[in-house]
Amino acid sequence: MDVRFSDPARVSLLAHIFASILRRGLADAGVARKVSGLGRIGVEMAGMAITAEFGDAAVTLSGGRTSCRAWVGGGMSDLLEVCLRGAVIKPWLEGRVRWGGNPFALLKLLSVLAAARK
């Protein structure tokens, strides 16, 4: 599954980081199938916000958070902890990672992060 930027001339640091993670995770065909057509997921980190729109064959990253099926946000260290170690519950209970919307959509996103760690 391809990962694209909606406006390649205006890519935030968060979009670069998230794109790098997605590219590795979506290299797993099974995971890519799982999130195909997932819809919009918002990510807020360290003052930046993006929307990742999971289509059938590509994920398109845009700046800002538009209406989404689900969103996740937090500080850079906390979200990196989620990405790198799959630690979700503790940072959430401690209020360091926030989320909203459809939890099942976020669980599918977690599977991409898990694949990226391999």
Partner: protein, 478 residues
Amino acid sequence: MSSSLASRLAALVGEAAVSTDPARLREAARDLTEIRGVAPEVVVRPAEVAHVQAVLRFATAEKIPVVPVIYNTNIGGLAIPQRPGCILLDMAGMNRILSVNPDDLYMVVEPGVRWDQVKDHLDRNFPQTRFAYSLSPPDTSVLANCLMDGLLNLSLRFGTSSTWLNGVEAVLPDGTLVRTGAAAWTQAQWCTSSPMPDLTGLFVNLHGTTGIVTKASVRLQHAKRLRRRFFMMGYDLRACFATVRALVREEICDDIGVLTWPVAKMLFGERRPTWRDPGEPLAMIYLDVSSNRQAEMDLRLAILEETLDASRKSGHAWQGPLDVRDLVKIEPAFQKLAEFPTRLDFMLDHPGGGLSWVGTYGPTSRWDEATETSLRIMQEHGFPPFGVARPMAQGHFGVLRLIETFDRDKPEEAAAVAKMNAAIVEAILPMGFIPYKTPEWVFAAHGSRIDPGFRELLRRVRTAIDPAGVLNPGKWPV
């Protein structure tokens, strides 16, 4: 041999050491920067000190200019002939690590010894020692950096690289071989320049205008068992500088520096980032911490956290500290910042391959205004505001470096870089930021501000050593 000059030199040093290959000559007329020179008439690549002596004796007698060069990367035109008929003396062929003394902490190296060569040699054979590395590519010269007073990743603790020199061996224009430092008096050691008069300085920051250095004793440091590198991201440049100064006062780190936001995007493959998301951090601070004991390391890291917390309490947001090992897992490109020496390919491998900068040493107390001014000038000229600031020598002074990549094959881009660099120097030299590896154009524009007594003293020294004026003419033009 296409010229009589080449034939005469071949008679002195052997045909294999002399080249008149047109491609080699053409390439010698430029380095990575925007500065252009003229092709030398001949390139001589000495293999031993006797060759250097023979070439310099000949050149002095015949009054033929000699321009020394090693790897001719980004050195601001300092190793480019500026007049026709020069001999280019390529020292890259003398590339042996002659000795390492791990007890007295020094190594003796030839000019062509590279960063990666030293790293490999020490890691394999002398793991109890460590050296420091510049951000030059790994296949460039250690000694060139020392002789041009460059910055290393241990320069916060131990000073710029010229202060790591215990002494040099150099050939004067008349062929005389000299040694400075302790080795001038004894064969038993070269672990210090003390208590000898500091004549090593005659060969530092003078761009090869006083002699050709053929070897040097360079200091090593004790290795540390534990090493960590962190990145923090800040949203306020002045808060970043204040935090760096606070951490320097705490003396917890080996190295620390501020990198402005474009560098992070360049790591991700953006060639010339000029757009920044309003919510994006303005700068990254990187920090190296080392120790032999875990308790000491933990204390250093606790002090780092305390310092960041104090800044947060005064209203400044921070991301991190983030361990570079984690960043590498997120984006493998961060590996380029994880271990030195390193090749920062995002600055080197692009169309036209041009890399230039204004690199200065100045007061850390004036970093804020000098950086803001410089970054504004870069943006006004259409370049990414890519700056680096690092404290040196326990914070007694600091580096401020403004970096740009460009296409060397496009004259209009080279001209834009030259214009912008001139504007930056014009703005920050009065604040005390003096360009290092000082290029000729800086002298042309600002040399008249140098103290007349200093100029006269330097002129007398140069004339006494090189009365024929053959060594790298045009550099330090006093």
